[in-house]
């Protein structure tokens, strides 16, 4: 394959993974930004989204498109509900202390993972794509559904941005992020905001999981990769900076796609990890992080 088509394939692969990664990492960045919690179980919410989608889509004998629409609607809500319960039972009891919550979310990671293994089983389950077509380029074919995933993720990202910048709820969240004690003094129910943010962060990961399931299948161990990449994104973008997380997701996603296709996927992973290390050494607040913590 010559250079042009090779590059096209690399960019296609890169943008699809960048959009999905942006959605997942945004959830992590939001939770960290507002609550100052490093949620190690974030990847498991991604996995839960995918697994619940596979379960819901197979529950009724519906046409693939309707089954998937149902999953896209219900699965993130269920994931959000699970996150709310986790917040209530675990995080709130630890008073959202940064160190304690790291250990607690590691525990949550294993609880969620092993529960899915016990209740859902170890097999990878596939879900039919709601819209399945193949785009034939002169040199190779490409999945149409992947492009739809990228577009949907883009729409969701815009919706989150709009919600944070233009709605009252977003204002309350941003106020809590800036100074939670002051926010509380102004009558903002900080604990409720925390619960909401934690659920929202989990739902973003969950929705990314639903979108990816027709491409990658649902499997109980699938949460690790998005977790590591999301951490890389959040560190490079600047802890707590949403704009930074978005920029970093596209940098990592696209470079991963291009380096994987032209060189090797292992090299892409090495370079991403190296970038994280370099950012931590030379610009600990991240490339786009405003305030140093």
């Amino acid at each position: 394959m010559s250079f042009g088509p090779h590059l096209l394939l690399a960019l296609l692969e890169g943008s699809v993974s960048a959009f999905v990664l942006a959605l997942t990492a945004l959830g992590l960045a939001l939770v960290f930004g507002v609550m100052r919690i490093v949620n190690v179980a974030h990847g498991e919410f991604f996995m839960l989204g995918a697994v619940l989608a596979a379960a819901l889509a197979g529950l009724f004998d519906l046409p693939p498109a309707i089954g998937f629409a149902l999953a896209l609607l219900l699965s993130p809500i269920l994931v959000g509900a699970i996150a709310l319960v986790a917040d209530r039972l675990i995080l709130r009891r630890l008073a959202y202390e940064p160190e304690a919550t790291i250990v607690a979310t590691i525990g949550l990671l294993f609880i969620l993972q092993q529960s899915v293994l016990s209740l859902y089983g170890p097999d990878a389950r596939s879900v039919a794509a709601p819209i399945d077509f193949r785009i034939q380029f002169p040199w190779f074919g490409y999945s149409g559904y992947k492009l739809i995933v990228a577009a949907l993720a883009g729409v969701l990202l815009m919706a989150v941005w709009y919600g944070l910048k233009k709605t009252k709820l977003g204002l309350v969240m941003r106020a809590t992020q800036l100074d939670s004690e002051m926010a509380q003094a102004f009558g903002i129910p900080v604990q409720r905001v925390y619960a909401l943010v934690f659920a929202l962060g989990a739902m973003l990961a969950g929705v990314a999981g639903v979108l990816i399931v027709p491409i990658r299948q649902a499997h109980y161990l699938m949460g690790l990769d998005p977790l590591l990449l999301s951490f890389a994104v959040v560190i490079i973008g600047g802890l707590g900076s949403l704009r930074g997380a978005l920029m970093a997701a596209f940098i990592i996603g696209l470079s991963d796609g291009v380096i994987s296709v032209f060189f090797s996927p292992t090299l892409a992973k090495i370079l991403a990890t190296l970038a994280v290390a370099l950012v931590l050494v030379f610009k600990p607040a991240g490339l786009f992080g405003g305030r140093a913590q």
């Binding site: 100052r36 160190e99 097999d123 879900v127 039919a128 190779f140 939670s180 161990l221 990769d225």
Partner: protein
């Protein structure tokens, strides 16, 4: 992170004092010590002969091998039930002690140790994934624990492990690919691109299939190793040269459905011939959405998943004992697909252990040397209910069994056998001799 703001201040955190913690620990230790002296521990002291044989089952209940592990477990339970119903081994019952290794090589070694020191088993069996076998085998050798793997890898037959490790229930990869290469180059094409997982099992495929293909006058167009944790594959496909006649794929892990789907999207209808190893699709329904692309491609099978026209009475017996229908799915749930081409190895290995104990007169772990020598002196197994996959030749020097292999075509959402190899097709000169190692 200590200087991060924690806006909701903690209050009234429960304080566990050093004194109360120590008290609690002391109580736990006391209970543990006294329970060790309880009579249950000495149940069999006076009754040596009725004491069951204890066989350790090292199983992948969690981790990437969990789909296989579940079926290895089901097959093992079925075989042990039959053995015990028929009077056990040498008149003594068999007890299976199961330990999960998490499909993790490090944990594998620990599990062997636990079997030896804590459970005090007579033998260990059942490991599948090659990296776990390679991680566990040295410990089995050091502890002088007879260790029967059901793994397919060439590591046992290569001579790279030790005298305590056997693979009597399933053919190794080297033998499989040697027996398949003539059919592939004769029927599908001579220019082959290989896609394989980048660890021991995949390297066996790479090395031995490349050599076997060259011996048939074919050539390898490209070798594409895939890291074992990979979850998307389109980025590897540009490496497939345009002159490829046959795409040879062997993948293990949950990513396989993605692999096939993306392959279909990449190639469309203008695909090369495709030959795969069913390892990729064990526990996966051939009629899953996205697998339509495989229609008309070929697979290696060790034991045909779909009971075809040539089904033997032994296969019928084995299927009903394990609880698997004619399509290789669970009788309880037709969506639950078995790992049919591998799990028979557990069944057959247990019967080999039974035969070895009975012919050697093995009584207790003090007789381990007799047991090892008994297995080494075996030369083969006849087809039957104890060996439903078919007859096998066993080469004691390399501790490895050799059986028939099958090539099946994907059609109508199922698999149909198109070719069966002979045992001789897959025999090779032993590369080692374990029997010269000291016991």
């Amino acid at each position: 992170m200590t200087n991060m703001k924690s806006p909701v201040k903690s209050e009234g955190r429960s304080k566990v004092s050093r004194r109360s913690a120590l008290k609690g620990l002391g109580a736990v230790a006391g209970v543990a010590a006294s329970s060790a002296l309880m009579p249950g521990y000495m149940r069999y002291a006076q009754a040596q002969t009725s004491e069951p044989f204890r066989i350790g089952f090292q199983v992948h209940s969690t981790g990437i091998g969990a789909s296989y592990g579940r079926w290895y477990d089901q097959t093992t339970k079925a075989a042990v039930k039959l053995i015990n119903e028929a009077g056990g081994i040498a008149g003594r019952p068999v007890e299976i002690i199961t330990e999960d290794d998490g499909t993790d090589p490090k944990r594998g070694g620990e599990v062997i140790e636990k079997f030896a020191s804590q459970h005090k088993v007579d033998a260990v069996f059942g490991t599948l994934f090659s990296h776990v076998v390679i991680g566990s085998a040295p410990r089995a050798g050091e502890l002088k624990m007879p260790y029967f793997v059901v793994s397919e890898g060439h590591h046992v037959a290569s001579g790279g492990l030790n005298r305590y490790v056997f693979q009597p229930g399933i053919t190794d990869v080297k033998s499989q690919v040697i027996s398949l290469a003539p059919w592939i180059s004769g029927n599908l094409g001579k220019k082959v691109t290989m896609i394989f997982p980048d660890f021991a099992f995949g390297h066996d495929h790479r090395d031995y299939f490349s050599a076997a293909l060259a011996a048939q006058g074919g050539s390898i167009s490209a070798l594409i190793p895939i890291p074992p944790t990979e979850s998307s594959f389109t980025k590897y496909f540009p490496q497939i040269p345009a002159d490829t006649e046959v795409l040879y794929h062997v993948m293990v892990g949950p990513g396989v459905l993605t692999f096939v789907k993306e392959l279909g999207e990449f190639f469309g209808s203008k695909r090369p011939q495709i030959f795969g190893f069913i390892d990729s699709l064990e526990a996966v329904d051939i009629a899953s959405p996205g697998l339509e692309f495989l229609d008309g491609t070929y697979f290696w099978e060790a034991f045909p998943r779909y009971a075809g026209a040539k089904q033997t009475s032994f296969d019928k017996f084995y299927r009903s004992a394990v609880g698997v229908d004619d399509k290789g799915a669970s009788l309880a749930d037709p969506k639950d697909i078995s790992t049919y081409s591998h799990m028979f190895g557990c069944w057959e290995t247990l019967y080999v252990i039974k035969q070895a104990i009975e012919t050697s007169g093995y009584q207790s772990p003090a007789d381990k040397a007799k047991l090892i020598e008994a297995v080494e002196s075996m030369t083969g197994f006849a087809e039957g209910n104890e060996h439903p996959q078919g007859e096998k030749t066993f080469v004691g020097k390399i501790h490895q069994a050799f059986g028939h292999q099958f090539i099946s075509k994907v059609e109508n959402g199922g698999l149909t056998v198109v070719h069966q190899t002979s045992i001789e097709d897959g025999l090779y000169e032993p590369e080692a001799d374990y029997t010269t190692q000291s016991l």
